[in-house]
Symmetry: C2
Subunit: 374 residues, 2 copies
Amino acid sequence: MFTFKLLAGSGSGGPRLGLMTTPRGQVETPAFMPVGTYATVKTLTPEEVRGLGAQIILSNVYHLYLRPGVELIRRLGGLNRFMNWPGPILTDSGGFQIFSLAPFRTLSEEGVTFRSHLNGDLHMLTPERVVALQEELGVDIMMCLDECPPYPCPEGELKRATELTGRWARRSLAAWRQQGPALFAIVQGGTRADWRREQAQELGELPFSGFALGGLSVGEPKELTFAMMEAALPVLPVEKPRYIMGMGLPEDLVEGVARGADLFDCVIPTRNARNGQVFTAQGALMIRHAAYAEDPRPLEEGCGCYTCRHYSRAYVRHLFQAREMLAYRLLTLHNLYYYLSLMARMRQAVKAGRFPEFYREFYRQRQSGGEARG
Amino acid sequence: MFTFKLLAGSGSGGPRLGLMTTPRGQVETPAFMPVGTYATVKTLTPEEVRGLGAQIILSNVYHLYLRPGVELIRRLGGLNRFMNWPGPILTDSGGFQIFSLAPFRTLSEEGVTFRSHLNGDLHMLTPERVVALQEELGVDIMMCLDECPPYPCPEGELKRATELTGRWARRSLAAWRQQGPALFAIVQGGTRADWRREQAQELGELPFSGFALGGLSVGEPKELTFAMMEAALPVLPVEKPRYIMGMGLPEDLVEGVARGADLFDCVIPTRNARNGQVFTAQGALMIRHAAYAEDPRPLEEGCGCYTCRHYSRAYVRHLFQAREMLAYRLLTLHNLYYYLSLMARMRQAVKAGRFPEFYREFYRQRQSGGEARG
């Protein structure tokens, strides 16, 4: 049974503290969900992901539907068993992926027809089918199929996509069996604060388990991202979790929590790790830089992650330059540890009523960063 | 202080049991050394390598000399500290690598001049320099620089290379400070049993810490490989470890132990893992085959490795097809576990005086293998 309990904060802005309960365990919020697109948080084992402090991970029905197939995963006991992750999983519906990855998509009121970005095969997905697929995967939180408009987007197109997303959310709700997985609606509306607010209000009146803001961090200026959160979040029901999809950098998480978001996911800590970017309290550094060739210090001084406890920047740089897979593991471990610890520190700060102090300190440390600045 | 104690068996053929003691720990022999060319056993952490049962690993002075540089590793505290491996390390001298990888090499009595296969830079290595480089790395067992002839090789060329290897071994011995790392000589001689025997006898009279057969498993028929072992091993001093370089498949290890070898290394379990080859008692299988797409069984039934305890063939195949790095990790873990367990079982069999039974059972299991055959 899915529940969400608000422990501190409100619905009208400002940081919140919550406890989300799913059949596979509890999630303290605000929380960051590591991304496991293909039923693996890239380079890591589930035990490692758990050891970093992750209580929930995200996967993607679009990717799993194309490869290895939802039916195959179902026959093998569901996604949790397939990938050996015993905790909660939230799956994205594929809306974002279909509109960003798939070639030759054709949209209709009924659903979306698209070609696989892997082999060109033609597929059709509807809101109802996407709910059914996620139920087959046996995950804990499902997302409604949405149309994710790009930025910038002509107003007419944006309005049409937003309205279609709303109608699809209602169809998803009707298709949902309300047993097993929870179902979150996605609020679109591009960078139109009025449409965001209106859709949040409309969907917020429906019995979804939680709500997400989609179509953000797709290229729009940061001020607009935060303005959309400020427009939409306060009108959502206070006692349900709010999820900002696909965002972001560490500072985005801080700004998101400051505005009352409960859940986040992003490929940045894992993908950028594989490109050699190291997140630290002082900012980001690129491990390939020659300055680190003989640097005996850990990636981040004082960091308690496995990588920082055992290896020098010089060693990680050597592995990275030699394209050794261990480099990607060590960098992924550090970055996810940084992200998940950042969330834990924010939760502690909200709990102790000192989020403003945390917020100031977060930006102060970045300003003091020397070579370790983005 | 380096010592080797023969616990069972003799020097004149047949399996042996030994205990090699190095400043960084003991190694029960016969032993397989996982290969960590670039200061990493590819895809794994040192803790994982240790957890698989490895008591010693192999690295390579040629590769580390070119990247990141031996001097850099020395300044960072030596190879063990650099890569976070607390146990013994044996480094190959680079003979094999120079003759198989480096373009434009020029050989002289003094040493070998070659261009880096990475960037074309010109380098000169001598037997004395290679000893010094390995001492700088701070490893536990050093190998003498050798000239590794190809197979087939014209007789005149083979004779010249073998004799040069002998003279270089003497120069290495003279350059060795005999404090810190042990020093192993390498016996060459191609597929000439008489030259192998002669060089083993000559070098065997010198105070090396141990002896290796080099230039095997370079394309010659297996009968010749084993014939060379049978020619050279019995004339080596009984109380010193014997190492067969760069060999081989599981059956090669069994045949090597049967002929009295104590140490092995090979990239096969790790490299082939990355190509999707799974070693099992019944033979090898290729995980990419469609037959495994929905196979709920572990890679090898009854296997106790991390991969087999937690994942299906279907999942590992999915990761492999999606080129997920976790696939290479899971396959490497399994293959190294298989190799290291095979060695442990051989040691137990020798100890219990039932190696012949082990040997028969090893081949019986392979013959009974159904789809899991190479």
